[in-house]
Each structure stands twice: as C-alpha cells, then as structure tokens.
Amino acid sequence: MRSPSTRRTAGGEPISSEVTDRPITLSQVARRLEDSGSGAVVLFVGRVRPEVQAGRRLTGLDYEADRRMALARLSDLERQARRRFGTRRIHVVHRIGRLRVGTASVIIGVAAAHRSMAFEAARFLIEELKREVPIWKTDRWARGPTGRRRRTRRRPRGARSPG
C-alpha cells in the first residue's frame, strides 16, 4: 500500500486504489485528484454509523478483504467508470480492520471536466464497490453476541453504514 503508483494488476495496469489497515483521510484522496483540467471534483466518505438494536449498542465494525482480488476489482471499476463517464481522475481507498463508530471506512474521489460526470461516476463506484468488491463487515455490539452484517432483506440496503 505504500507506493500505489508502482503497483500493477496482473495485466500490467496501474492500480490507484488502496485497501489499507491505516486511517484514511479526505486530503489523502484529494491530493490524488489534482488536475487543472477538471472543473468538478466529487468526494464521498462512508463512515461507521452509530446504531442501537434491541438495547444493544453498535461499537464498531470489523472489515476484512480478499486484498488481492479487491484491488483487482477496484481497478476494474475505475476503468469502467473512466470509460462510461469520461472522468479524468479516480481514487478509491477502503480501510479494513477494527473500525469504531464515526470512523471513515471508504473514501471515493472523482475529478472530471463537468459535474455530472463526477457525480455519476462517484455514485457508480460506491454502488458497485458494495456489490462487486470482496470486502466484508461484521458488527460489533457492546453487549451480547455479534451478528454478521449481511446484504440482508431484514434491513433496507445500506442501512447503517452507507459507505
């Protein structure tokens, strides 16, 4: 994760996304989008939301990833977004490990000539990330047993952590 500009997929394409167990910040993503030709930048931050269920309080989420495949899928998604929306810069970072409530789990940044491209690409990336990238979260509750967070019908999609 240290030198993302030199990492490449098996196919030789540069990978700009990151899956990291360190804190992620807006400024780290914004830096990667610097481009004087882009008139619009859209940034999305997903954070662990507080929740109480049946008297139990969510203290955080544990994130895990199939890191190699996650990077390959993120790099696919970046390529798709570039092609579909004509964006100029994309950078996605996803944090894994034990994250407390309020902590950023994912940051997506897109720079494009026009705002509609940037908005649509950012939305596309977060929706596809949730569906297609091998990353998982598990709930951690203050008391009682833990319950895995599934793409479940029990709750509306994206209920707690929209990131």
Binding site: A10, Y63, E132, V133, R151, S161
Partner: protein
C-alpha cells in the same frame, strides 16, 4: 507473483495440497480462515472438494450456495473445473464493504 506466494505454491504442490481461504460467514462457519486439503496430482473436481468440506462443516453448506468461488484470484464459472495441487481457492460470501 511475490516470492512468498511462489514458495507457498511450490510447497503445496510438493505436498499435493490445495489451500482454501474462507472469508466472513464462511470463516465463522468453519472456525478457521484457512483449510488445506491433499488432492491427487491429477486434481479433483471443485464441486467434489467443496462437498467433502461441507460434509465436515455442515454450517458451511448454505453459505456455499450463495458464495462466489475464486481459484488463484479468478472467479470460477461453474464448479466442475479441476483443482490441482498448489491451487488456491477462496470462498466469498456476499460482499458487504463500503
């Protein structure tokens, strides 16, 4: 391929084993994030391999029905393909990142 991975695969090939990596609910159902299985050098069908593991770990069976399976970092289409010593199989329950 990183040196460590190359070495691991070489050892797996010599001991004629397949490595399985289990994520999320699959890991919890089995109680381990890795399993190793000896396979003949001619290989074994993926569905046969997974069935034998599901017999040992019945809680894994419903999870396998909704999971994607990857071999050496590529998704498997259909589960009839053969797995050979040194292969790495990953079990991916539905994703919930973000």
């Amino acid at each position: 391929m990183p040196l460590a991975e190359r070495k691991r695969r070489q050892e797996a090939w010599m001991t004629r084993t397949v490595q399985l990596t289990l994520f999320a609910t699959a890991r919890e159902a089995v109680g381990a994030s890795r399993l190793e299985r000896a396979v003949p050098s001619t290989g074994v069908r993926l569905d046969t391999l997974l069935e034998s593991i599901a017999e040992e770990h019945p809680r894994l069976r419903p999870i396998l029905r909704n999971a994607r399976v990857a071999r050496n970092g590529e998704y498997v289409v259909g589960k009839r393909l053969r797995v050979r010593p040194g292969d790495e199989i990953a079990i991916h329950p539905p994703y919930s990142g973000g």
